[in-house]
Symmetry: C2
Subunit: 248 residues, 2 copies
Amino acid sequence: MMRVEPAAEKPADEGARGRFERIYQILRTRICLLDYEPGSRLREEDLADEFGVSRTPVRRVLVKLEAEGLLRSMHGVGTIVTDIDVSELAQVYELRVELAELVGKLSPAIIDEALVAQFRDIRARCDRLVAMRDPRLFSQINMEFFHLFTTLTTNEPLREISERLYYQTTRIWLKTAARLSSFDELLQNEFVIFQREVADITEAVEHGDLAAAGHVRRAHIAMSFSRIRRAAKPATIRTHLKTQYSED
Amino acid sequence: MMRVEPAAEKPADEGARGRFERIYQILRTRICLLDYEPGSRLREEDLADEFGVSRTPVRRVLVKLEAEGLLRSMHGVGTIVTDIDVSELAQVYELRVELAELVGKLSPAIIDEALVAQFRDIRARCDRLVAMRDPRLFSQINMEFFHLFTTLTTNEPLREISERLYYQTTRIWLKTAARLSSFDELLQNEFVIFQREVADITEAVEHGDLAAAGHVRRAHIAMSFSRIRRAAKPATIRTHLKTQYSED
DNA sequence: TAGGATTTGTGCGTATGTATT
DNA sequence: TAATACATACGCACAAATCCT
C-alpha cells in the first residue's frame, strides 16, 4: 500500500483526525521517554491548555492510551501513568520474543536499496552515539530502530501489535537503565550490545536474510529482558551472579 | 474504610467504568454477530437514547472500538462499521495461526478438573447444536469456545491480542457463512468441521497436551481461512474444486 | 467523622465538516 | 454552484467520586 506517514509536519492546517494523532503521538512519546514517570498524574486540563484545545479531544486521546495499557483513568482520582511489575513484564517479553521472529517469517517486505540504506544510516548513527552514554537519546534511536525493524514485514496487524507491546515495555527498560547510570560499565554494556544488534541485523538485511534478522532480534530481546530482570533484583543477589532463579 | 466490592453483577447501580464496559461489550457483540453489518452507520444519538445516557459516554466507547479497528468515525459523515477485504483478512489470519500455536506453548495454565469439565460441556453442546444449522447460534458457541481456548495460556497479553484479532475476523466468517446458507451442504460441512475441532482439542486438554491443542487449533484456523477464501471467490471458480491458488 | 478541594465523568448546546439536491 | 440537511467534533458547565484535612 505504501501509506505515507500521516502527520509529519503539518502544524498549520490539520483536521480533527490530524490533531488527534498529533496529541496521541506526543503523549505516547512522553510516557515512553519517562517525561511522565510511571505513577505520575496527568491532569486533563493541563494538557488541554498546553495543546490549546478543550478537555474533550484530550480525553479522546487518553481513552486510546488507556486502551493500550499506558494510562489508567479513575473517577475522582486522576489519570495516572501505569507501571508494570516484573511478572507482567515477563509475559510481554515472552510474547515480544516470538513476534520478533515472526517479523522475519511472515509476509516479508521487498528489500530494496532504500531500505538497506536506512539500516546503514541507523547503524552509523548508533556507532557515533555509543560514546555519549545518554539513556534518553539512546532510547530514541532504539525506538527508531524498532520501527525500521518492523518494516521488514508487510503484515500490518503484526506491526501494530509489535508496536503496542514495544511501547509497553521500552519505558521499563529506560527506567532500569536510568537506575543503572551509577554503574557506568553496565550501562555502557547495554549500549555496546545494542550496537552489535543493529550491526548484526543490518548485515542480515544486506544479505536479504529476513529470517536471520528475526532470529537475531529474538535473541537480543530475550537477553535484554534477562538483564533487566537481573538489574531489578536487590543488590544482595546481584553480587553473586550465578543464575539463581528459584523464585517463579 | 467500608469499601464496597466493585461489581460482580450489579445492573442496578454501576459506576462509570462498569457502564463503559457494559456498553462496549454489547456493541462489540452486535458488530461481531452482524446485528450491525459492515458498512452500516451507527448514530451516536440513537445509541445514547437506547442506553439512557448522553452521547458523551457513547463516544468514549466508539473511540475504543475504533482503536480496535471495528469502527471508523468520520467527521460530517458518520460512524460506520468497518469491513475488511481478503488481503487484510489474510494478514490477520496469518497471524492468528501463529498465535494459536503460541497459546499452547507460552505460560501454560494448570489444567484442573473444572477446566476439563468446561471443555466437555462445550463439546456436548456443540454436538447438540450441529443439527440446528443456525449460523448465529453457531457463531456464539464458536466465540465461547474461543474464550475457553485462550484460557489455556496465562499469558495475558497473548490472550488480549488473540481476542482482538478474533473479533476482527469472526464477523467475516459469519458473513461468509450467511452467504453459504443457500449451499446447505457447505454450511453443514462448517459445522461438522468445528465439531471435530472442539472434540480434538477437548481430548488434547484431557491428556494435558497443550502443545497438541495449539497445533490442532492452528491447523483449523488455517483451513477455515482457506475455505472462506474459496467461498469468497466467484462461482465460476467454485465449480471446479481442484486447488487452484495461483494468485498469491 | 465530616466537609471541602480536586479530578474525572456527563449532558447539552454549538461549531465544523460532508454529502446531496 | 450554492444551499440545506445531518453527522461528528468541540467547548463548557455541572454532577459524581475520591482524597485529605
